[in-house]
C-alpha cells in the first residue's frame, strides 16, 4: 500500500477518506442519538436527482447533488413537522421522487453516463483534487456550526419538548441539523456513494456510543473509527481488487458486529440493574 502512495489518485483517496470520516464522525453521532437515520437515508437518495442534473448540465454532479440534498432535507423536515403526515411516508416520497428525477435527467443527457456507478456506490480512487477542496469547505462548515450550537443540538436530541419550554428554537435547529446531514452526504458521495452513505452515518457513531456517554468524546471517537474503517477498506479493496465503497462499508459492518459482540460479553458479566 505504501508504494501506492506515489500515485496522485491514491494520495487523493487518503485525504478524501479522512475528510469524509471526520464529517460522518461528527454528524453521525447526531444521526444515531437523535434517531434520524431514515430521514438521512432519504436525504442521501433524493440527492441523486442532483447527480442526474449535474450530468445533464455538465456541472460537477456532487455540487448539484449538494443543493438537492439541502432542498430535500428542508422539504422533508418542514413537511413532516408541519403536517400530520407520518414522517416515514414523507421520507419514502422524497426518497423515490429524488431518485426518479435523477434517472429522467440522465435520460435527457448526452449519450452514455459512464461513471454513474461511482456516484451510486462510491469510488474513492476517482476523487479529483477539485472535489477535495469542496469536501474541505463542507467539513469546515459542519465543524463550525456544530461548535456554535453544541448545547442546543444536545438539548433537542435529548428532549425536544423541554427544550421548547426553555425557549430553544427547536424546529429551526432541527432543520439546521438536517442541512448538516445534507452537507455530510455531499462529502461522502465520492467515497461510498449515495446508496452506501447511510452506513458511514451510522456505523462509526454506533460503535463509539458503546464506549462513552460524553457527546464530544463520542464525536472524536467515531471520527477516529471512521478513519480506520475507510483506510482498512481502501487497503483491502486495493489488495483484493474489490469495489472500494462496498469494501469500506463491509469493513464497517464487521467492526460493528465485533464491538457489539464484545460489549455483549462485557455486560453479561456485569448486569445493569433495571429500575423498579
Amino acid at each position: 500500500m505504501l508504494e501506492a502512495l506515489q500515485y496522485d489518485f491514491m494520495r487523493n483517496a487518503l485525504v478524501a477518506g479522512i475528510l469524509a470520516a471526520t464529517a460522518c464522525g461528527v454528524i453521525g453521532v447526531y444521526v444515531v442519538v437523535k434517531k434520524i437515520a431514515s430521514i438521512s437515508g432519504g436525504i442521501a437518495h433524493a440527492s441523486f436527482g442532483g447527480i442526474g442534473l449535474g450530468f445533464l448540465l455538465g456541472i460537477n454532479p456532487v455540487l448539484v447533488a449538494l443543493f438537492f440534498a439541502l432542498a430535500s432535507a428542508l422539504g422533508m423536515g418542514i413537511v413532516s413537522r408541519r403536517t400530520s403526515l407520518p414522517q416515514d411516508t414523507v421520507i419514502g416520497i422524497f426518497w423515490a421522487v429524488g431518485m426518479a428525477l435523477g434517472v429522467i435527467f440522465i435520460g435527457f443527457g448526452p449519450g452514455y453516463a459512464g461513471n454513474l456507478f461511482s456516484y451510486l456506490f462510491g469510488n474513492i480512487l476517482l476523487v479529483p483534487t477539485s472535489d477535495l477542496a469542496l469536501m474541505l469547505i463542507l467539513d469546515a462548515v459542519i465543524a463550525s456550526v456544530v461548535f456554535l450550537f453544541y448545547k442546543e443540538f444536545l438539548a433537542i436530541s435529548f428532549d425536544e419538548e423541554f427544550s421548547a419550554v426553555v425557549g430553544v428554537p427547536v424546529e429551526s435547529l432541527y432543520l439546521t441539523l438536517l442541512c448538516l446531514v445534507a452537507l455530510t452526504v455531499a462529502v461522502l458521495i465520492r467515497v461510498v456513494g449515495i446508496i452506501l452513505v447511510i452506513a458511514m452515518l451510522t456505523i462509526p457513531a454506533a460503535v463509539a456510543k458503546q464506549f462513552t456517554y460524553n457527546l464530544t468524546k463520542m464525536m472524536l471517537l467515531s471520527s477516529l473509527i471512521g478513519i480506520i474503517i475507510v483506510l482498512c477498506g481502501l487497503w483491502l479493496s486495493y489488495e483484493l481488487d474489490l469495489a472500494s465503497g462496498a469494501t469500506i462499508v463491509i469493513v464497517g459492518g464487521a467492526l460493528f458486529a465485533v464491538s457489539f459482540g464484545l460489549r455483549g460479553l462485557a455486560t453479561r458479566k456485569r448486569p445493569v440493574a433495571q429500575p423498579s
Binding site: 448545547k151 438539548a155 435529548f158 428532549d159 419550554v165 426553555v166 456517554y213
Partner: protein
C-alpha cells in the same frame, strides 16, 4: 389571603380536531399553592399543563401567567414531564441534563456561566443528587431520574412548578421522600401536581381539583363523592377500591 395570582385560566376550551379535551376550564394558582389535579387518563391533565406552558394554544378562553402570555412568562415555570427519558443509552450526564434548565437564561450559542453552574449545583443539592452528577442519566433508577428532572426544572429558579404524573413507576418509599421534597419547595414556589393516583396525591397536597374535560375545583382538599363521581363518570367505589372515604382524610 391576599397572595399573588400566578396563573389564571378563564373559560379555556381546547379541541383536538373535533374532540373537546378541555371544556370551559377555570383555574387560579396562587403563591405557595400545592395543588393536586386528579382525573382519569385521557381526561386532559397533560393538556392542561401544556396550556399553562403555552405549548398548546386554547381554541378559546384566556390564559395568563404572571399577568402576561404563557409564551412570554414561560421562563418562570419549571416543568417535569411524564416519562421524560426514552433512550437509556443516551450520551448525556446528570450534570448536562440539569444545565438544560438554564438554556432560557443563557441564550443561543453562548456558553454556560459560573452562575449557571452554581445554580445547577444548588438544584442537585436540593434534590440530594449531587453525588450522581457525573453519572450517565439513563443508568439511574426511575426515582433518581425523576429527581434529576425536578432539579432541571428548579435550576431556572421558577415561581411555578408543574409536575406531570411524577410518581409513576416509583416505589412507596421514594414517593414519601418525593412529597417531603415538595413540602420544602412549596416555601418558595407554587406547585401543581397532576396524577391519576388519587390516594397518594390527596394525602400530600393542600388543594385538589378533579379534571375530566371539565375542572371541578373547590379550593379545598375535601372532595365529596359526588364530585369524584362527576369527574370519573363511574361509581367512586371503582376508583377507591371500595373504600371511598379512605381516599381522603378521615372526616
Amino acid at each position: 389571603m391576599a397572595s399573588e395570582e400566578l396563573v389564571s385560566l378563564r373559560d379555556v376550551w381546547v379541541y383536538y380536531g373535533n374532540v373537546a379535551v378541555l371544556e370551559g376550564v377555570n383555574l387560579s394558582i396562587k403563591q405557595h399553592d400545592l395543588l393536586g389535579i386528579i382525573g382519569p387518563n385521557g381526561g386532559g391533565k397533560t393538556t392542561l399543563l401544556k396550556v399553562i406552558l403555552g405549548l398548546v394554544k386554547p381554541s378559546s378562553g384566556e390564559v395568563a401567567v404572571l399577568g402576561s402570555t404563557p409564551q412570554r412568562n414561560r421562563k418562570f415555570i419549571g416543568y417535569v414531564a411524564q416519562n421524560s427519558l426514552v433512550d437509556r443509552d443516551f450520551p448525556m450526564s446528570v450534570w448536562e441534563v440539569v444545565l438544560m434548565g438554564r438554556y432560557g437564561k443563557v441564550g443561543l450559542i453562548k456558553r454556560f456561566s459560573d452562575d449557571d453552574k452554581k445554580a445547577a449545583y444548588k438544584a442537585l443539592e436540593t434534590v440530594e443528587m449531587l453525588d450522581y452528577k457525573d453519572k450517565q442519566i439513563g443508568r439511574l433508577s426511575g426515582g433518581e431520574q425523576q429527581r434529576v428532572f425536578i432539579a432541571r426544572a428548579l435550576v431556572a429558579e421558577p415561581k411555578i412548578l408543574l409536575l406531570d404524573e411524577p410518581t409513576t413507576g416509583v416505589d412507596t418509599r421514594v414517593q414519601t421522600k418525593f412529597y417531603e421534597l415538595l413540602a420544602r419547595l412549596k416555601q418558595s414556589m407554587a406547585i401543581v401536581l397532576v396524577s391519576h393516583d388519587i390516594s397518594a396525591v390527596s394525602i400530600h397536597v393542600d388543594k385538589i381539583a378533579c379534571l375530566n374535560h371539565r375542572l371541578y375545583y373547590h379550593g379545598s382538599k375535601e372532595v365529596g363523592p359526588e364530585i369524584l363521581e362527576a369527574t370519573y363518570r363511574c361509581p367512586v367505589e371503582m376508583i377507591a377500591h371500595g373504600v371511598p372515604h379512605r381516599v381522603l382524610k378521615e372526616h
